[in-house]
Symmetry: D2
């Protein structure tokens, strides 16, 4: 790879990406463009502008954007249509944010004439893969720089030395090492590393940042009704809202009631297992409610096909293949299924639990006439079941007859 | 089908199966053998003996058996090895009990020279299918009688008339109609019908029988440690127990803390949707813990393959294909994966929540050396990630290059 | 089911459906509308008009239509996009024609105010299922009459008696029983029954009707080039043609060279196994060529996903679920994959073989620069493979390390 | 990676691996052990011994083994039980041989105290991945040396220079470059590269080495009967044979009749597409016959599950994951299905075609009584089909009713 001339950096404004910024300037002597996105991580973005300026970035090379609506509308919601969970439990909060960041990095590179993009993910994690696969899928000629895999600053001491040598201001609380590492966006907060590294040790309560401990949650349950149209949440308690507003509101509700905590050991794409603590308050409510509305509006054939394909779909997102033909094919299948996933679900939130207690829809396939214990008015002829069973049994009978025959 | 001469009836001792017993005698003039199984439904069995005798069944034709250990060991545990849930949520508590009952019915038929078996399931549900597919798979020549599909007693009034005409004692509380229908065994209690028929109405609290309302559960969390060997639970809090004892104990713990309630609309195999309320306290703990122990002992390739196949496996059990080649093939695959699923999981129970908070095992694949944020001692070379990403990206780059080329 | 008042009958003009026509009139006293479709079965349709008139059908109740283009465009081609084969070998020639017939039956019923449709399939086969599932999926209130399951004419003798009693003319060659039963359309000819009933006996050569015996095929190979656009064949040897024209032409070519014969035992949806002899000359060429063009235009991720889902897709068509949400979802996925499946494939036909020998496309993903044995110009860095392998191996190493550790 | 001290090299005796041998000695100064396996590639092995001795390898460090029986019994046959084909067509002839070689390399390393193994695969292909994943899966601590990824000898000129400098004899026909590259074993011969690099050019006939051109094959068809037990071929024309003998014999038969040629563009695991010409004469017969015997002995449920999982199984083998938990899990599932796959299949070979024309078995599930067009003796009640269809249709009717309702 020839040396990059101009690099768009995914820049948080924090110490690590500030060091990367300076390192790119000194190591490659290249021009740096910074991209700072508001994905709902709950940090102010303007300080990032100031820090970038301080590090010598020209104003026209500083991109600061609120992408929350795009994030929820084009990434989070399509994923929730699939009821995607990785390894049975993880709601993919980090995974789903990376492709959006890469998409903007590559677009800004095209706008600014940059030939490279850079990110602050380490060489051990999944995020490097997600950033880079997305970037290459969108521009096959882009260069991707991953400083953590290249430089010799991988110890805390060396990093701080480099920062001091380069006049990068170090916040007081960054001098010591954080007891764990955090990633956050509108969908979730994840914590991992350090105090969490032994999966036999319970996660200390201070790790959780976004949800109250269920034991401290209100003693009274709260009811929330989520409205759906074609598979996407469109309203809360009858009030229509934009995608990001809905997720923000659900985060408040879920967080208040201690919903969406997860302590997980997962298999990384790069090969080892890692332990993470995830908080996905709004997403947990959304998944429960989406399953609830599907339960009455989605046909069994459609629902079971979705369920069978979900693990693969989730794995693709986890592994960084959002921008891949197979993810897009699965999305076409999933979206096709959602045409009638319209209606309302009532959830009850209480001490960490979020349970569907009622659901209704004009698009419902539920037919009381067919299922009732009452004498039916001809909707269903119980005698049909005999033939249904006989023909389903036929191949099993032929198998059993063979066994009998061969035993003789 | 020629008329049966001798029938083995799945007999609960209750009003409905007593009526069936009498109806078989009068309709077909055939000899009846009763089979009453203790599956952990929480009812005494000896009254069934007396009622059978009262209805003229000879003592040698009355089979009363405690099959709880067989149920958990040979049916429930193998199913939990697969983390089986139907339509994302249902733990298959009813489905998994039916094949065992059919197995014993067919075996008793062979022992007693009976040519038929009979069950009390209606023509609208899944249970008839499960009973009958299992029976035919075990004996292709057996006759199966399903009175509810045959007789003209399908209204409550006609049933009670028939009972009175035939001197079948009717308990006082059976004169009126129950507000919902119940099935119970060691794994779960399910309720459906009547007051539950409108899925837009919340289930009244009196429907729940086996779990306290989470709001009434203890205010203090409780810790429980479940030990596993080769995928099966073998101990609780360090104390080794038999399969049925473990499930009984987990039911107590889960029930006390309000765990395992589920209010679901599901797609029946016979074609319509139905709404059920399920309580699976012990099973809910077991599933959570099993996923927890797998998370450190099962390789990613194995785990993901299991996850992809689970929906099909669950569907097979739900639909009544326990005794089928494809379920047995999937079981062989699943069991193969469980060789190292050995270790201990710590759960925290609180107000309906059952969450894994710690797990450990001699068979763990988790490697702190590989995952640590600390400078590593050579277990993992971060530079390898660059090549890994490049080759994973290659096909995506070729796709993107095509797009670029064609756009020119 | 209340008695039908007006029935649309799938009418071939042959003896069997003529008897059905009369039986409907006499049994139900209902008005009959006949629908005769040219699906490319190679029979003239006008005789059917005369026979219908002879049996008293009013001219406005006689529908005779050439649906070949619709058949190939909307049914055959979408199916071939999936490379669908049932049980590894069968190209689904009969299965794919049934939904189209049902669609027209139901549409004609709506146009003519009929409340029922009828077909001539027996109670043992798959076709009854395919006809009826399609009809119910398109009109939930339609009645479907399947005389073969209802009447008492199921022996040849009784049928002929009924024909004579009702003045239905019997062609001389229909007096005796045919040595096997045939179904044909533009995609294939299938033969089954009678002389074919023992799968240990070779099919006699006279069974084959549409393809020459490979031993009698030309001694010189023939080259044919098939052009594709977005997954569908659009030209032969450079000449653009309509869908039905293409399939007709491929049938000629394939038939002349003895391609597409298949002798198969298959598992029917209704439970038993049956043996069929199929001739699909054009379809066999089409499948080979479609795989050929996909091989250079379809990404590995897309292709493998298609391959994994194909058996389910084929099973759905075989079982009669063309008009089902899950088939439509899979079709959305498949169609999404075909956007770049454009280009040309050269086949060599010889003595029953149809093999791809060359393929090219502007949409090709094949990159000689990447694959060449020559020293490459930097398209691919072989050193990347080391990292790729290391990280793919990591989980396997961790497994092996566990085994080593536990053995100690 | 620290420098290896003793290396077991997969040594063919040819020029390339002789250069590798010398390069290992000079580059790493390490001791070399050679392993030369007879996998049925059709070359004599003793010359390899002489060449190794000439290059200074001590007699006790030269391993020459006939592993043909192990190859067919433990690798080829298990794979054929699955009917494995990659991307619809490729019979995995190269892929399946690599794990066996790695297994022996690792075993010999253990026996001889070597700390590394080496192979002669390039950095662009799949074989490097297969060799190395297998080695790491069997010994997590083994070093693997892939000279083609490391050295600077990657041009023909440099290689020959090195050979001359090191007194490695160069056969006359190796001075020029081969027009394509070949891999062979008892299952297949593959050719790729150079003259085959443009997939739009037909493969020249001289590429094919193991099969006659179908046009030159005998003008008379030949019949062959293959006997199976539990999924494996055990006899030909009634004569029992060992696994390798059977495959050898089938190769003769298939080769003589021009069967098993394949010209394919495939997606490599390392990311690019490549074009290969494969000859798998015996394997082609074996696959056809195995499908034939399964068609009468394998239940539909089992067969369809196998078909759905086959692409994944084939992909695992292609990608080099033979020694992985997921391949072993799938193998457990497949092997479970083969318990009754016992019987005989008659194939007709003619001009490249190998078609099943008859099949029979004591384990057959085919029931003429059920399928016959004759009036049946009660094995099957056609009226059952009505109920079967009604309940299969129910969900489709509910969907159609919704559409109707919403359109109003």
């Amino acid at each position: 790879m020839s040396a990059p001339k101009k690099v768009v950096l995914a820049y948080s404004g924090g110490l690590d990406t500030s060091i990367i910024l300076k390192w790119l300037q000194t190591e490659y002597g290249c021009e740096v463009v910074t991209f700072t996105a508001d994905l709902g991580q709950g940090e102010e973005l303007e300080p990032a502008r100031k820090k970038a300026e301080l590090l010598g970035i020209a104003p026209e090379n500083i991109y600061i954007e609120d992408v929350r609506e795009e994030f929820v509308r084009d990434f989070v919601f399509p994923m929730f249509r699939a009821n995607a969970v990785y390894e049975g439990l993880y709601l993919l909060g980090t995974s789903i944010a990376r492709p959006l960041i890469s998409k903007r990095l590559v677009e800004i590179a095209a706008e600014t004439g940059a030939d490279a993009v850079a990110h602050g993910a380490t060489g051990k994690g999944n995020d490097q893969v997600r950033f880079e696969l997305a970037a290459y899928a969108l521009n096959p000629d882009i260069k991707v720089i991953a400083p953590w895999r290249e430089w010799d600053l991988s110890s805390r001491t060396r990093l701080l030395e480099f920062a001091e040598q380069n006049q990068i201001p170090i916040a007081k609380d960054k001098r010591g090492e954080a007891p764990f590492s955090v990633d956050a966006n509108l969908l979730h907060t994840s914590s991992e590393g350090k105090v969490l590294e032994n999966p036999a040790d319970e996660a200390p309560d201070y790790v959780y940042q976004r949800t109250v401990n269920p034991e401290d949650a209100p003693n009274e349950p709260e009811i929330v009704e989520i409205g759906f149209e074609r598979g996407d949440a469109v309203s809360i308690n009858g009030e229509a809202m934009s995608p990001a507003t809905i997720l923000t509101k659900l985060n408040e509700l879920g967080g208040k009631h201690g919903c969406g905590r997860l302590d997980l050991v997962e298999g990384r794409f790069v090969g080892m297992k890692s332990r993470g603590v995830y908080e996905t308050p709004g997403g947990t409510l959304l998944l429960e409610a989406h399953r609830g509305i599907e339960s009455i509006t989605l046909d069994r054939g459609a629902a079971h096909l979705k369920d069978e394909l979900m693990p693969k779909y989730a794995e693709l997102i986890y592994n960084g293949f959002w921008f891949s033909p197979e993810r897009e094919m699965l999305q076409a299948l999933i979206d096709k299924s959602q045409e009638h996933v319209t209606g309302t679900v009532r959830l009850k939130l209480y001490k960490g639990l979020a349970r569907t207690v009622a659901r209704w829809s004009d698009h419902s396939l539920y037919s009381e006439a067919h299922v009732t214990f009452e004498e039916d008015a001809g909707a269903y002829d119980q005698k049909d079941a005999a033939g249904f069973i006989q023909l389903n049994a036929l191949r099993l009978k032929l198998l059993a007859a063979r066994d009998k025959r061969l035993k003789k």
